[in-house]
């Protein structure tokens, strides 16, 4: 069982306070959905959770240990999907994913990850021929190719079609069933079962089935 939590987080962007006294706590198998209007700090919060940003006050902990004490250790149990897909135009889909998977110690079969998002037929296609949605599928397949407990997904459904969104839903469910944690920001309904919702415009943590 892992416990990922943040306490009294304060964050500024320039002169503006994005949020203050924000707290969250999430355990293995749970999902947290970040909601809020544009500019309310969903991406900022995800970057804080990933350790790319440091909170100005407050702590973010993994199993009671502050993530800034051991950033590499924290990196080992997280996957982050941001706005950019990091697909190299001159590398094939397989090479793109294999590179990222090999940086981890627990790389799994890449073909299975590709098939999970229905892009098995693109294995040898160079990144420059992919559409936006296909690139996003490659980026999502990347996080399947080397398992990590915590998934931080920033608008994961951008550019995805209905079929791919279903794949994503299924993978998130499988991930949670095996004890993983998913934190996602999204505007579209991705129907996470029993997900908790964090509304960023009023910092309210509401418990309900999304």
């Amino acid at each position: 069982m892992a416990l990922f939590s943040g306490e009294d987080i304060l964050c500024f962007r320039g002169e503006r306070t994005v949020f203050s006294d924000l707290s969250f706590s999430i355990q293995s198998g749970e999902a947290l959905v970040l909601r809020g209007p544009n500019g309310s700090g969903k991406s900022t919060l995800l970057r804080l959770m990933a350790g790319l940003l440091k909170p100005h006050d407050g702590t973010i902990t993994w199993d009671g240990e502050n993530i800034s004490d051991d950033p590499e250790g924290h990196n080992a149990h997280l996957h982050y999907v941001g706005h950019a897909d990091a697909v190299k135009p001159v590398l094939s889909v397989h090479e793109n994913i294999a590179f990222w998977a090999n940086l981890r110690t627990n790389a799994g079969p890449i073909e299975a990850a590709l098939d999970a998002f229905g892009i098995g037929y693109l294995t040898d296609v160079p990144g420059r021929f992919l559409s936006a949605g296909q690139k996003r599928r490659v980026n999502l397949a990347r996080i399947l190719a080397s398992p990590a407990e915590l998934w931080l997904l920033d608008e994961p459904t951008t550019a995805l079609d209905a079929e791919a969104i279903n794949d994503l839903k299924r993978e998130i469910a499988t991930h949670r069933a095996s004890g993983g944690i998913v934190i996602a920001s999204t505007h579209t309904e991705i129907g996470l079962k029993d997900a908790r919702i964090l509304n960023l415009d009023d910092f309210k943590l509401t418990e309900d089935a999304a």
Binding site: L53, A76, Y80, A86, K88, L91, F99, L103, T105
Partner: protein, 222 residues
């Protein structure tokens, strides 16, 4: 170590496939040096007098040519933030990218040097000194340049800013590189020069990846 090798391999693969970068760097190096016989005139003794300086300055400028892209492309397509989120220290990642940069620019420059030495009618005594100083000096150039390349991330028109940041820091390498070659031509011992250059390289090896990683973390905070 595994991560280090993976990143070097990927960067070499990228350089090979999207290709023209190292070819352009070497072409610039050769062309820049070739301009001097046209400008100064083909008299062998005048060319020999300025050969070391010209080749060194050209090497310095051409290695800077490709620095801007060292981190910029990875920064723009999101790879850099993913690289920063791997379970290995960002300093190692930066070191790997610097190594790949040297292999794709410094090494080709080194290989092109004999040709240019002949072209500038550099005396034979100076040739090995030139080759040695470039071999020790160009890794320092890549290392120092990486700090500049990391600092300009996220800025528009980074290229000009980069040269303003990096060129002053290249001066010590240039001074010792050129004076070693001049010394060798006049028959003086050059061990001291080489040792000082090696010292600069040894100092830059840990310091530059560390500073570069710091600058990248700063850039990713936006």
């Amino acid at each position: 170590m595994n991560t280090f090798i993976s990143i070097v391999k990927r960067d070499l693969q990228l350089a090979m496939r999207q290709g023209m970068d190292s070819v352009m760097v070497v072409a610039f190096f050769i062309l820049a040096v070739m301009l001097f016989p046209f400008g100064v005139g083909p008299e062998a003794n005048i060319l020999a007098r300025i050969a070391a300086g010209v080749i060194w300055v050209a090497a310095l400028l051409s290695s800077m040519l490709s620095l801007e892209r060292l981190f910029q492309i990875d920064y723009e397509d999101g790879s850099l933030e993913l690289l920063a989120l791997q379970p290995c220290a960002l300093e190692i990642t930066v070191m790997a990218k610097i190594t790949a940069h040297w292999l794709t620019t410094g090494l080709p420059l080194l290989i092109a040097t004999p040709l240019l030495a002949v072209f500038m009618s550099l005396p034979n005594d100076g040739f090995w000194a030139l080759f040695l100083t470039l071999a020790i000096g160009t890794p320092s150039l890549s290392l120092i340049g990486a700090i500049g390349a990391a600092l300009i991330l996220g800025s528009q028109r980074g290229g000009v800013l980069l040269s303003l940041l990096v060129l002053p820091l290249y001066i010590p390498v240039l001074i010792f590189g050129v004076s070693a070659v001049d010394g060798a031509i006049s028959g003086l011992p050059i061990k001291a020069h080489l040792l000082i250059m090696a010292g600069m390289l040894v100092a830059a090896l840990p310091l530059c990846p560390w500073a570069g990683a710091g600058a990248i973390r700063q850039a990713l905070e936006t």
